[in-house]
Assembly symmetry: C2
C-alpha cells in the first residue's frame, strides 16, 4: 500500500473562461475539450495504471456529483463530496484525513490537459520517493511562454534525479517579470499538481494554518459515509477558512521540493488555447457540430445544435451553447470570463 500512490482528483471550477460551453453547472473538467474524453475522464485514465496508483479519490462539489457519477460508474473510486467550496487547502485536507498517514497522495486538478502520460507517471514516481522522505513536492511545468496567468516556482539547489529545492514561489507576475522568468530559465509554472504523504501535509497545515486544519478535522469527524461517498458535516465545513494550498502550505513549509516535468501540459485556459490544441483542416479551421465555413482561416466553431455558417473570418472562435452565442477573436478570448454571461450564471456551486 505505502509503495503505491493515491491519486486525489480535485474536480470543480467556476465555468467562466470557457463559457458558454463551460458553465458553473458543468465546468471545464466535464467537457471533451481535447479529443472525445472529458478532462476529468482523462485525469482518471492518467492515474489508472495500477502498478503506480491505488484507486482514485475524487473531491468534488454537490452540484457536480451527477457528472462524476456518470464518468466513474465502472471505476473503483471513492468520492468526497464538498458541501461548499472552501478552496484547495481544505479540499486536500479532506482527502488526507481519509487516508493513512504514510500514504502518498498525488493531488491532480482535473481542468488541464497532459499529452505525455508516461512523463507524468515518471514524475509522479519521483515525487512519491521524495514524499516518502517527508517532502511536500510541487511539479513544475516548463515555462514556455511569459504567461501572466500562472504562478511560478523558482528552482533552488538540485537534489538529484531531476528534483530541486524550491527557492521561492512567485505569484502571477506582470508581463515584464514573466518574460524575465522565461529568459532566466530557472523558473517553472506551478501547475497545481502536488505529492506528499497525508501525514506530512496535515502536519504542515497544522503548523501554518491550524485554523484550517482544526476546522476540517471537525467537519470530517462529524461527517457521514454512504457506500463510496463521504460527506463532511455541511455546517462545520462551511466554517473552514477558504485558502489555496499554495498560500496556506506550499509557500510556507520548509519541506517543499519541485520536480520539473515536461509532459505536454496545458491548462486550456481559454478558447484560443482550445483552438490551438485541436487539429485543423487544410485552412486551419476546427469544427465541432454543424457548420459551413466559406473563406475562413483558423476559425474554431463549437456548437451544441444550431448550424453555424461563417464567411470571411480569420482567427475567430464561435461557440454556441444553449441560449448563448459567443463570437470572439482569439486575442479577445482571454476576456471571456469577464462577460456578463460568464459572470452572472446561476447553477450549482
Amino acid at each position: 500500500m505505502s509503495e503505491s500512490i493515491s491519486p486525489v482528483i480535485l474536480c470543480g471550477g467556476s465555468g467562466t473562461r470557457l463559457w458558454p460551453r463551460s458553465r458553473i453547472a458543468k465546468p471545464k473538467p466535464f467537457l471533451p475539450l481535447v479529443g472525445n474524453e472529458t478532462l476529468f475522464g482523462q485525469a482518471l485514465a492518467r492515474t489508472s495504471d495500477d502498478t503506480a496508483f491505488t484507486s482514485a479519490m475524487v473531491v468534488t462539489g454537490k452540484g457536480h456529483l451527477d457528472h462524476v457519477d456518470s464518468e466513474t460508474r465502472e471505476a473503483d473510486v471513492s468520492i468526497i463530496v464538498e458541501p461548499s467550496a472552501r478552496n484547495t487547502a481544505a479540499a486536500i485536507a479532506l482527502a488526507a484525513l481519509r487516508l493513512p498517514a504514510d500514504q502518498v497522495m498525488l493531488v491532480c486538478p482535473s481542468d488541464h490537459h497532459i499529452a505525455d502520460t508516461k512523463a507524468f507517471i515518471d514524475a509522479a514516481r519521483r515525487g512519491a520517493e521524495l514524499a516518502r522522505e517527508g517532502r511536500l513536492v510541487a511539479f513544475g511545468i516548463r515555462a514556455t511562454a511569459p504567461e501572466t496567468g500562472f504562478g511560478y516556482i523558482k528552482r533552488g539547489d538540485p537534489m538529484g534525479d531531476g528534483a530541486y529545492e524550491i527557492e521561492s514561489f512567485v505569484e502571477k507576475p506582470d508581463r515584464d517579470r514573466a518574460e524575465a522568468f522565461v529568459e532566466d530559465g530557472g523558473y517553472d509554472w506551478n501547475g497545481g499538481i502536488f505529492a506528499f504523504t497525508a501525514g506530512y501535509y496535515l502536519k504542515e497545515l497544522a503548523t501554518y494554518r491550524p485554523d484550517i486544519a482544526d476546522a476540517v478535522a471537525k467537519a470530517v469527524a462529524a461527517g457521514h459515509e454512504n457506500q463510496n461517498r463521504f460527506e463532511p458535516d455541511a455546517e462545520l465545513f462551511a466554517a473552514v477558512p477558504s485558502e489555496s494550498i499554495d498560500y496556506a502550505v506550499m509557500e510556507k513549509t520548509r519541506l517543499a521540493a519541485v520536480v520539473p516535468v515536461d509532459m505536454g501540459w496545458s491548462d486550456i485556459g481559454n478558447w484560443h488555447v482550445v483552438r490551438e490544441m485541436r487539429p485543423g483542416d487544410a485552412d486551419g479551421n476546427r469544427v465541432m457540430g454543424r457548420a459551413e465555413l466559406v473563406d475562413c482561416r483558423n476559425v474554431l466553431v463549437e456548437s451544441d445544435g444550431p448550424r453555424v455558417s461563417v464567411i470571411g473570418l480569420e482567427d475567430v472562435c464561435i461557440v454556441v451553447d444553449g441560449d448563448e452565442v459567443l463570437v470572439t477573436t482569439v486575442d479577445g478570448a482571454q476576456k471571456v470570463g469577464k462577460l456578463a454571461g460568464a459572470q452572472n450564471q446561476s447553477g450549482a456551486a
Copy 2:
C-alpha cells in the same frame, strides 16, 4: 377613380440574401429590417395617401397569406393569391385583369426601403400622368454606386417634367461597365417600380408575349373569389410561362418611359446594407436582441432569442435565427445567399 392610382404590391421572395432571418417561409417583405415596421407594412403605408391612391391590391403566394393577413387586418386591401410563383409578368397581369382598363396601376415591390415618401408620391403622380397618355413607365433610381446586382436604364430624350424616353435597358453589368454607367450619369438603376394603365400593360403583354397574356387570362377566367381574395385556377396558372416584366414587356415596348427619382431607395440586398441603414451606437455597433459587445466596432447583431456575446470584432454581422447562426464579415455578406443553409431551405414557396 381614373384620377387616382391603384397600388399593386408584389409580395414574395426567396429568402436567401438575408438568410437566416429571411427564409422562404418568411422572406424579406415580412421582416422589420429598418425601423419597427416590416418592408411590406412600409409599402402599404407609403401608398395609403388617399389623395393619390386607391386601396391597394396585394399579389402574394399561398405560403405568405398568414403574414399578409396579419399586416392588413384593418386595411382595405384586395389580395390576389398566386397558387404558384410565375414571376412578375404574370403577377402583374393578374392584377391588371382585375382592374378597369383605364385604371393606372403602380407596381411596387415590397422588398425594398424608401426613405423619402414624398419624393416617391411625387414621382408616382408624374408616372401616372404619363401612364394615362399610354406610356409604360419605369422609375429610375439614381445610380450612386457601381452595383453589379441591378439592371440599369439608359435615359433617352427628355419628355419634360422630369421624365425621359428610354434609350435602353441594360441587364446586370460587370464591374467595369457599372463604373462607366455611374461616371456617365445617364443611367439609373431599375428598381422594379412601374406605372401604366391596366389596359396598356395587357395590350403590350399580348403583343410581345401573347402566350403569357393568354395563359393568365384563362387562369383568371377559371379563378374564384372569396371576400377580398381572388385566386386564379391553380392548374391553369401553373402553365403560365415564367418571365419578368422587364424581359417580357419593358425591354420590348415602344411605349416605355422613365421617371428618375431620388427617394432614398435601398433594396437592402444583404446584411452589410442592413447594418448601414440602422443607426449605430457610439462605436458604430447595431444590436437587435440580447447582446454584449466588448471591444467591437461597427458590428451588427440580430438575435431572435439567444444572447450574443462578442469580443474584439469589427465590421462583422452576426445573425441568430432559430437553429441557424450566421457570422460574416460585411464584405462576405454578399455570399450569404450561396450558403447551404440559404439554398436548401424547406418551406412555403
